[in-house]
């Protein structure tokens, strides 16, 4: 008996619909990066600790290395590539630049998605709420101080 190990799924990412055949074990982050060529979301660990792969899936913030691609069948996904309009950065993206909240920029897409999810739920977060919201995102360049300032500025 042949064992079925792949399946065709459909996802909407940043408003565009894609259909792909994926192996059962394919991670959502690899679907995004390797199959859909949406390379803005990054991989910084293999264990769900670093948050560089964070995306918003059906309005919920997820680490896309902790979700199988087939679990996303039928879902609507937002990634960093979908944040800005044609020419206009979001206030949060602009605040990250204004406050020097990024250096190498590798953690930034995941950090922006976590902060975007926070500000949608809670437009005026307290200091502690900001820190908690990005606790699952590791940054090795900035020490978080300027990221914190940027999110605070964007919330004001």
């Amino acid at each position: 008996m042949d064992v079925v190990t792949s399946q065709t799924i459909g996802v909407e990412v940043n408003g565009t619909t894609y259909e792909r055949e994926v192996e059962a074990r394919r991670l959502l982050i690899h679907l995004l990066r390797d199959d859909l060529d949406l390379t803005g979301s990054h991989i910084g660990c293999d264990t769900g600790n670093c948050g560089a792969c964070s995306v918003i899936l059906d309005r919920t913030l997820v680490k896309s290395c902790m979700v199988l691609a087939i679990q996303a069948d039928g879902a609507s996904i937002e990634t960093v590539e979908g944040l800005a309009g044609e020419e206009q950065l979001t206030p949060l993206q602009q605040a990250f630049s204004d406050h020097h909240a990024l250096q190498c920029g590798y953690c930034t897409p995941g950090m922006l998605m976590s902060a975007t999810a926070l500000l949608r739920e809670n437009p005026k977060p307290s200091d502690e709420e900001i820190a908690k919201a990005i606790q699952g995102n590791i940054c090795r360049c900035t020490g978080y101080w300027n990221i914190f300032e940027a999110i605070k500025a964007a919330s004001e």
Binding site: R33, I43, V80, C104, Y106
Partner: protein, 824 residues
């Protein structure tokens, strides 16, 4: 959470050549792409038909490899090919060794040949059509190992019964150098007190850049050239390691980088894996892609040097005047000397730390152990040594009942002594260390320390304050490698920039550097725009490095705190040349002499008659596309290349004497901790970091480096450690077990700056970015201060997680046995 003070940008008097951009917090050119996920990191690049590389790694710390059988892996559907150590030994030569004998005898290949020497060492590689298949197939490679005893403690590496790692060397002591300057006997004779410290330990960790190592490697059969799209941060070094090993000239290795996800020195020694990828791309005739997994990085890549300081003796006067010290530094290099034993001399850039003592003896012994190879890590080798000197200061102050602030001020090199020649011939260019300390203490509210201590005590907590003074030496004189191995033919340093004016007036800058977040595109554009008198928006700085651009030299790369000197020095040099040529061309067209011309507002124009002006576009078009009729002797290309070369002499190998680095940025950090005496759990409740890196081109960028380095130091001081069990298994192979700081871990931070321009650089700048090691020194000192009422324990390790603090609290005496004070 944060309380940040930034010194205002320099205000420059209104004058004709007023800098418009240097000294300003100009928004970063890099940001627009990075905040939109449009950066290009190596793993973002794809090629048709590319295969994915997965390395088979040793599960043993030390084992003979009897055989490697790849047949089952090759039968696995989707597998394209494999590479084994036997093939590597035929196709390549061992990597060039920096060390003199016996380290020189190591035979280091890109895969384990005959033996595996640490858990995680690559012994074979598999290429398949997906990442997952490559990983599956790697499990089908059958390696027959014969386990050997492992050496996991550097202090046991030289025991008679210690297993030898490298039979070719015949000893685990791969390099030793005795450094002695001044008159130790006289210093100890003059001393009122001799403080003896039996052992101090600087632990093993690294900066764990969020992006791991990797490359996409293509081989062009027609030209015999490889293209490596990679995140290696020192292509100049990788090339000189790889070319001879692969038996090809350097023109056959094209390195390309754009965005790199952090480096911190940890991405300098990826050359073995890059060689394996090159061999696979040629063997399989297709592009191959290797992305290191997080666990692979932790197991195998660029750990920082672990160092033991044994039998230290410090000569001190009654009043706290420091005369000198002697010690043995035992450095654990791990299994291979990939950049080592350079750590055996790099520390000497900061031999006396920030202090005036003149009599110093240090016996440096480096041993190999069955652990991951060490390589540069932010603060490379100087951090270990500066931690040691700061520990001496605080232990001496502690034991002699002196104030650590006063001991520092009494012994700091004074600003009127600058430039200061150290006992080993290094020249500290400028600085005001006492002012740095005063500024930091003021930021932290030092005057209120007693009341804060009392307040903490009322809450059942122990409060302590600690100072970390540190130097960030930058712009290496690579001649220091000759102190390691007199046969080496390296010295000096260099970096390259090209600046051109193109047909439509585009100003295009190329650099040899490989930035990983250091904002080179922005700061280079600031320098160029000021010289050419144009808008920063008109300056296009190419992102990253490409060996095809002819904008690199032997030492090109981004490492060791030097861009503000070497990189910007090259940018300034090339732009000055371009400016001169633009003026020369304009005066031919406008019929005047060059001194009549000024560059301003994107034009070359006559000073006395601004109406007579040529826009940059006209100059670019004339030279590049409309040059008939120009005078034959007009030597103008508008395409200028400048190689910056710092003014160095080779050091004196016999005396181990000479100037090893051009600039010395300095930092003083102050930490305040509160310890729960019942559990050892502590919190950093207040923190100040004051930096002096000379003239700052972009203060915000500098402050960002200070913050990031501080965060890394706090992580290292409190939690981060590569811990091995006695069998050589790494116990912290991922971000669960290796705890890097998270947002909730960060203390309130106050930053400040002092500006002592360097007299040795064209813009007064100093390299910076590595000085954060001060955080480790400061936390150690703060803990020792806090625990003082509980039996005076001595902090002897650079990493102090809560359980270590609890041990100091519960058994202070065992730490105290490490220190004795003799009165003379």
């Amino acid at each position: 959470m944060t309380e940040t003070t930034v010194t205002e940008p320099i205000v420059v008097e209104e004058q004709e050549t007023r800098p418009r951009y240097a000294g300003q917090n100009v928004p970063r050119k890099e940001d627009k792409r990075l905040v939109q996920g449009e950066g290009v990191f190596f793993d973002d690049v794809k090629r048709h038909n590319m295969g994915y590389v997965h390395f088979v790694r040793s599960p043993y710390a030390h084992a003979k490899i009897r055989s490697v059988d790849v047949s089952k892996a090759l039968e696995h559907p989707g597998v394209i090919g494999t590479l084994t150590g036997d093939e590597v030994a035929l196709l390549t030569d061992p990597f060039f060794q920096i060390s003199s004998p016996p380290g020189a005898h190591l035979k280091d290949f890109c895969l384990g040949v005959g033996k595996a020497r640490f858990v995680g060492e690559p012994v074979a590689a598999v290429v398949a059509n997906t990442r997952e298949t490559a990983r599956d197939a790697a499990e089908l490679v059958e390696v027959d190992y014969e386990p050997l005893p492992a050496v996991t403690d550097a202090r046991r590496a030289l025991d008679d019964d210690a297993q030898i790692l490298h039979d070719d060397a015949g000893t685990n002591l791969t390099w030793e150098g005795l450094y002695e300057w001044g008159d130790l006997d006289a210093a100890f004779a003059e001393a009122d007190r001799v403080v003896k410290i039996s052992e101090l330990h600087f632990h093993r960790f690294n900066s764990t850049p969020l992006e791991c190592n990797g490359a996409l490697v293509e081989y062009n059969r027609g030209t015999g050239q490889w293209t490596l799209i990679t995140n290696n941060q020192f292509p100049g070094f990788a090339a000189i390691m790889m070319g001879p090993a692969m038996r090809v000239g350097l023109d056959k290795l094209r390195f390309v980088t754009q965005d790199i996800g952090g480096g911190f020195g940890n991405k300098i020694t990826s050359h073995p894996q890059l060689v394996a990828c090159c061999l696979l791309a040629r063997k399989l005739n297709r592009p191959v892609q290797w992305t290191e997994w997080r666990t692979d990085f932790h197991l195998s890549m660029s750990h920082g040097n672990e160092r033991w300081f044994e039998d230290t003796e410090v000569a001190v006067k009654e009043d706290g005047t420091l005369l000198g010290f002697r010690t043995t530094a035992l450095d654990d290099a791990g299994a291979w000397l990939r950049y080592e034993p350079l750590g055996g001399v790099i520390w000497a850039q900061v031999t006396p730390g920030m202090y005036r003592w003149r009599h110093i003896r240090l016996d440096f012994k480096q041993v190999v152990t069955n652990k991951a190879p060490v390589s540069p890590n932010r603060g490379y080798s100087r951090m270990q040594h500066l931690w040691f000197t700061e520990r001496i200061i605080d232990i001496v102050a502690h034991e002699l009942g002196l104030d650590p602030v006063e001991v520092r001020k009494r012994n700091y090199i004074r600003t009127d002594e600058m430039p200061y020649e150290t006992p080993n011939g290094c020249v500290y260019d400028s600085g005001d260390y006492a002012k740095l300390l005063d500024t930091a203490l003021e930021l932290i509210g030092y005057d209120e320390l007693d009341s804060r201590r009392a307040d903490a005590e009322s809450r059942g907590k122990l409060l302590g304050l600690g100072i970390g003074s540190t130097l960030d030496s930058g712009t290496n004189n690579f001649g220091q490698s000759r102190l390691i191995n007199p046969e080496l033919q390296f010295s000096g340093n260099n970096e390259v920039a090209t600046v051109k004016l193109d047909i439509f007036g585009e100003i295009v800058v190329t650099l040899g550097t490989t930035p990983q977040g250091q904002s080179h595109e922005t700061t280079a554009a600031q320098v160029v725009a000021d010289i050419l008198g144009c808008s920063i928006d008109d300056v296009n700085v190419r992102a990253g490095h490409d060996s095809y651009w002819n904008s690199h030299a032997g030492f090109s790369g981004t490492y060791a705190s030097q861009f503000a000197v070497t990189g910007l020095g090259a940018v300034k040099g090339a732009t000055d040349m371009l400016a001169e040529q633009m003026k020369k061309l304009a005066c031919v067209v406008l019929g005047c002499s060059p001194e009549d011309i000024e560059l301003a507002e994107g034009q070359a124009r006559m000073k006395e008659n601004p109406e007579a002006a040529l826009p940059f576009m006209a100059l670019g078009a004339i030279i590049n596309a409309n040059n008939a009729g120009l005078p034959e002797d007009l030597d103008v290309t508008l395409n200028c290349r400048y190689v910056y070369r710092p003014p160095f002499q080779p050091p004196d190998v016999e005396r181990k004497y000479g100037n090893l680095t051009l600039t010395y940025a300095a930092q003083v950090h102050v930490a305040v901790v509160e310890v729960d005496p019942e559990t050892g759990v502590y919190e950093i409740v207040d923190y100040a970091a004051v930096d002096d890196c000379g003239v700052r081109i972009n203060p915000q960028v500098v402050e960002g480096q200070v913050m990031g380095a501080t965060a890394q130091a706090l992580g290292a001081a409190t939690h981060e450690t590569y811990t091995y069990d006695e069998d050589g298994n790494l116990l912290t192979p991922n971000f669960y077990d290796y705890h890097v700081p998270h947002a909730l871990d960060m203390p309130p931070l106050k930053t400040g700056s002092v500006e002592s321009a360097s007299p040795f650089t064209s813009m007064g700048t100093k390299g910076m970015g590595e000085g954060g090691g001060a955080g480790i020194h400061a936390v150690c000192a703060a803990l020792q201060d806090a625990l003082r009422p509980r039996g005076n324990p001595i902090v002897f390790d650079s990493c102090n997680p809560y359980h270590s603090v609890w041990e100091l609290l519960s058994d202070p005496e065992s730490s105290r046995q490490r220190v004795t004070v003799e009165s003379r």
